[in-house]
């Protein structure tokens, strides 16, 4: 494992860059974009647990994300405190996720995706049509940001740091999760569900717990989102959001920890850049989807790693191909 040292160095550099970002970026507009990237990265990481490690592709994650956001926003608007609102939101999201999971796990593969898509759209329908509850198209304002330990989060750098802390906890949890025996059994259910059953694993339960885990972090991302925007509307629940999250996972490379983070950065930056010039974000989003699927189906991070390794091998002049290390693509 002599590769660990450069890896650790890279992580240390990345952490240092992230921690000092407000200093070297300066402008609060860019700090806010960094916060957005981190928020979406948490959602993408959560979705990646399913897409990358469980082999279950969900197109309903915007529903879970917004479930938490809406619950918290409604409770805050009703005058409850931040702690109560956030905790309730996460509990409600977990409960919704459990319902999602029980239904969607009646199928795997494409059936799973279709069911999550239908349920996500139904949650959109609630947010949009049940105006008495959700204020419909007008959305809900969130008047204040919380002040954990008495620290105000009202300006861009302080909110960035709060988001960064949550993001790092999320990454750390994911890293532990993936390396844990549970994570290994999850990838086992992805690759060989029948053999896992034969070995005595409860495949359904493993998948169910993975979905709950994913739902929890989607909920956390939803909370960050409403505190960042101080507003939530049915647009957040739309299929576009689920699709964007999926694009982040896939463009970065599913089944890796770094992939969804890079994907989130790519999508958020692109969205901001594109929106500055033209109004046609959905068009661009669709084109990127088609281009990535057609030309780089494994995602940018694994693709780059593959190219880098190939290049390294070529320089060293070794003939043995490293292709065997690449895990089978999840289906």
């Amino acid at each position: 494992m002599n590769r660990i040292t450069p890896q650790r160095a890279a992580i240390a550099i990345a952490l240092a860059l992230l921690a000092t970002l407000p200093v070297w970026v300066g402008n609060s507009y860019y700090i806010n974009i960094a916060s957005q990237i981190l928020i979406w990265a948490v959602l993408a990481l959560a979705l990646n647990v399913l897409v990358g490690y469980a082999g279950l592709t969900s197109l309903g994650h915007a529903g879970l994300f917004a479930m938490s956001g809406y619950t918290a926003a409604m409770l805050l608007a009703a005058g409850h405190g931040h702690f109560t609102a956030d905790l309730t939101a996460l509990v409600v999201t977990l409960f919704t996720t459990a319902v999602f999971a029980v239904l969607a796990l009646r199928a795997t593969g494409i059936g799973f995706l279709m069911i999550t898509l239908a349920m996500g759209q139904i949650l959109w329908g609630i947010a949009y049509r049940w105006a008495d509850l959700t204020n419909g198209d007008n959305g809900i304002n969130v008047s204040t940001r919380p002040a954990p330990f008495g620290l105000s989060l009202s300006n861009a750098p302080s909110f960035y740091y709060a988001t960064l802390v949550v993001f790092l906890v999320a990454v750390a949890t994911m890293a532990v999760f993936v390396r844990s025996p549970f994570g290994a059994s999850l990838t086992g259910t992805r690759d060989q569900a029948r053999r896992m059953t034969a070995l005595g694993y409860n495949v359904w339960l493993i998948r169910f717990l993975a979905i709950l885990f994913s739902g929890f972090w989607s909920g956390v991302a939803g909370l960050l989102f409403i505190y960042y925007n101080q507003f939530i509307s049915p647009q957040v629940v739309a299929l576009t959001t689920s699709a964007e999250a999926l694009l982040m996972v896939i463009s970065g490379g599913s089944g890796t920890l770094l992939g969804p983070i890079v994907g989130a950065a790519i999508v958020v930056v692109m969205k901001n850049v594109v929106s500055a010039y033209i109004e046609r974000w959905n068009l661009v989003l669709g084109l990127i989807f088609i281009l990535i699927i057609s030309f780089m189906p494994e995602g940018l991070v694994p693709g780059s790693v593959r190219l880098w390794r190939a290049g390294w091998q070529a320089i060293r002049g070794r003939a043995d191909a490293p292709a065997a290390e690449k895990p089978e693509a999840p289906r």
Partner: protein, 286 residues
């Protein structure tokens, strides 16, 4: 009493529309196993084509058929040049069609603006028929009649013709079908084109009733999904029963609990998934 009857007629009419939408989806998803997330987009794009032709003064049926023909060509091209490269790979197919759906949605917004288009019901289909003292709007009845004709036509085509037998053979075992001389690849393009055409035809039929507006695509797509989940994938009878069930439920739901109409659709899906995950008329896939 008349409220209930109106709701029932509307429910049947929406069911007819949903069948036009979901029968194509059922062909593409059930037979060819392509999870086509562009299906709602085909419906919307077809509807836009139709209203454009109607606005230029064309006959309603000419507009509907022309729009269906145009969508068949577009669908065929999409299958041949984009989806064909991903044959058998469902996840990439989903993502590709999802990307395509976003593109179609945005292009439609660009070309037809964000305002809803609602063509007038064509003259010869206006009015009501009176049966036993009750009034039925003709246009709604026509939608149902068209749906029933299409249902019978599709059933005959798939189950009773040589072409249908070839399609089924191609689906069951493509390599062997090829060996005995069936041009599976062309057949698949044909089926996809047919599914797209049906969606477009449904879109035009629905335009005077639902109107056409941005977002219609992703509003119709889950309905098609729910219908197919309810009826069972690949079952035309299932799609028919599911369509009318959802059509009724949606209309009654909207009248009785307007805020929750969309949620009520979720209930039969929930029941079916818990009790009979293969759908009402679906076969158990081993």
């Amino acid at each position: 009493m008349s409220l209930w009857l109106t709701l029932a007629v509307n429910g049947i009419a929406l069911g007819g529309l949903l069948f036009l939408l979901s029968s194509g989806f059922s062909l593409i998803f059930g037979l060819m196993r392509i999870p086509n997330l562009m299906h709602g987009s085909f419906f919307m794009l077809g509807a836009y084509f139709g209203v454009t032709l109607l606005a230029r003064g064309h006959n309603f049926w000419v507009a509907a058929l022309a729009s269906a023909a145009a969508m068949a060509v577009i669908g065929g091209l999409i299958e041949r040049f984009l989806l064909r490269r991903l044959a058998g790979d469902q996840l990439p197919q989903v993502l590709l069609t999802l990307g395509g759906a976003f593109i179609v949605g945005d292009v439609c917004l660009m070309l037809w603006t964000g305002d809803p288009w609602q063509p007038a019901t064509p003259d010869h289909l206006r009015g009501v028929v009176q049966v036993a003292g009750l009034y039925f709007p003709i246009f709604r009845l026509v939608i149902v009649a068209v749906a029933v004709v299409v249902a019978i036509g599709l059933w005959l085509l798939v189950d009773w013709t040589r072409l249908g037998a070839k399609i089924r053979a191609g689906v069951d075992d493509a390599p062997i079908a090829r060996v005995v001389g069936i041009k599976v690849s062309q057949l698949f393009t044909l089926v996809f084109a047919l599914g797209a055409a049906l969606a477009a035809f449904g879109g035009v039929m629905g335009a005077p009733y639902l109107s056409v507006y941005p977002g219609l695509d992703f509003e119709m797509l889950p309905l098609a999904l729910i219908v197919v989940i309810l009826g069972g994938t690949g079952s035309l009878l299932g799609a028919l029963v599911g369509s009318f069930l959802i059509g009724f439920l949606y209309n009654f739901g909207q009248a009785l609990f307007p805020d929750l109409a969309y949620v009520i659709l979720f209930l039969p899906m929930l029941l079916i998934l818990v009790l009979r995950p293969q759908g009402l008329f679906g076969k158990v896939v081993s």
